[in-house]
Amino acid sequence: MRARVLIRPKAGILDPQGGAVERALPALGFAGVDNVHVGRLIELDVEDPSQLDSMCERLLANPLVEDYEVQLLDGASA
């Protein structure tokens, strides 16, 4: 099963990467951009998708500072 894990900085935690992107966009002429946050995307094939939460808690994310979201993708290829 192909899975996708989205990892984001927890709400309220200072995100200087997001801030840098947010400041860069208007400089390129893109107006009206707000609340930019930068996270990580991990894609993986897993035999047992029920282990994904545990993988996130123990390694893929740091639950103290990051939220994660697991998406299961249809089909063998993604």
């Binding site: 200072l14 200087p16 893929l60 740091n62």
Partner: protein, 204 residues
């Protein structure tokens, strides 16, 4: 207390160490997050056990990140607020002078330590209630002096201990401040002298 011995990350045998230092540098490329993979190294299983039994464990820079990832210390280290690797001499206020890692400060002439810091992931973070608890239990051991908090650490925290007080981590490098010629000061010695006093005191 004898000489320092290096313990390979793949080894579980801590060879009857009096104290453990998890050093700085980089570990497993620091892919994912700094220290996230190193915390699962076989040596770390023994370090966790050693800490649970009350042994002194010092984590420096990447070692601090590893101890946080291993949950031996509260909180997490995030990318510096300036998003840059930054290397500079920093002034640290010693908030707690009666810990196993700072007890030699009582004899130290200066109320603060001048120690180099060099990292890109040094912004200490914990949620508000954890920070309050740390302050209440005297676990905030070192703070960046006013103006020295370049990485954006919450409440200027530079070094924290666990609740029992036997595990301590800090981002700056005390081992780099042990010789006037290269370290800018010898203030870092205070940390190691404190550990030595503690270990030798416990043995008497």
């Amino acid at each position: 207390m004898g000489d320092a011995e290096l313990i390979w990350h793949g080894d579980r045998d801590l060879r009857d160490a009096d104290a453990i230092v998890v050093p700085g540098g980089f570990s497993y490329g620091d892919y994912l997050r700094a220290g996230a993979i190193a915390r699962f190294a076989p040596a770390m299983e023994s370090v966790v056990e050693f800490a649970r039994d009350g042994g002194l464990v010092l984590g420096i820079c990447n070692g601090f990140q590893v101890l946080c990832e291993a949950r031996l210390l509260p909180g997490a280290l995030l990318p510096n607020v300036n998003l840059r690797f930054t290397s500079r001499q920093v002034q640290l206020d010693v908030v707690q002078r009666d810990t196993p890692f700072t007890c030699a400060c009582a004899e130290h002439s200066s109320p603060s330590l001048s120690i180099p810091a060099k990292h890109s992931w040094g912004r200490y973070h914990a949620d508000e209630s954890t920070l309050d608890e740390l302050e209440r239990h005297g676990q905030v051991v070192l703070r960046y002096a006013p103006g020295a908090n370049f990485n954006g650490s919450l409440r200027d925290i530079a070094g924290v201990s666990n609740e029992a007080g036997n595990v301590f981590g800090l981002m700056p490098h005390p081992e780099h401040a042990v010789d006037e010629l290269t370290g800018g000061s010898t203030d870092g010695l205070t940390i190691f002298q404190s550990m030595r006093l503690t270990v030798e005191g416990a043995r008497v």
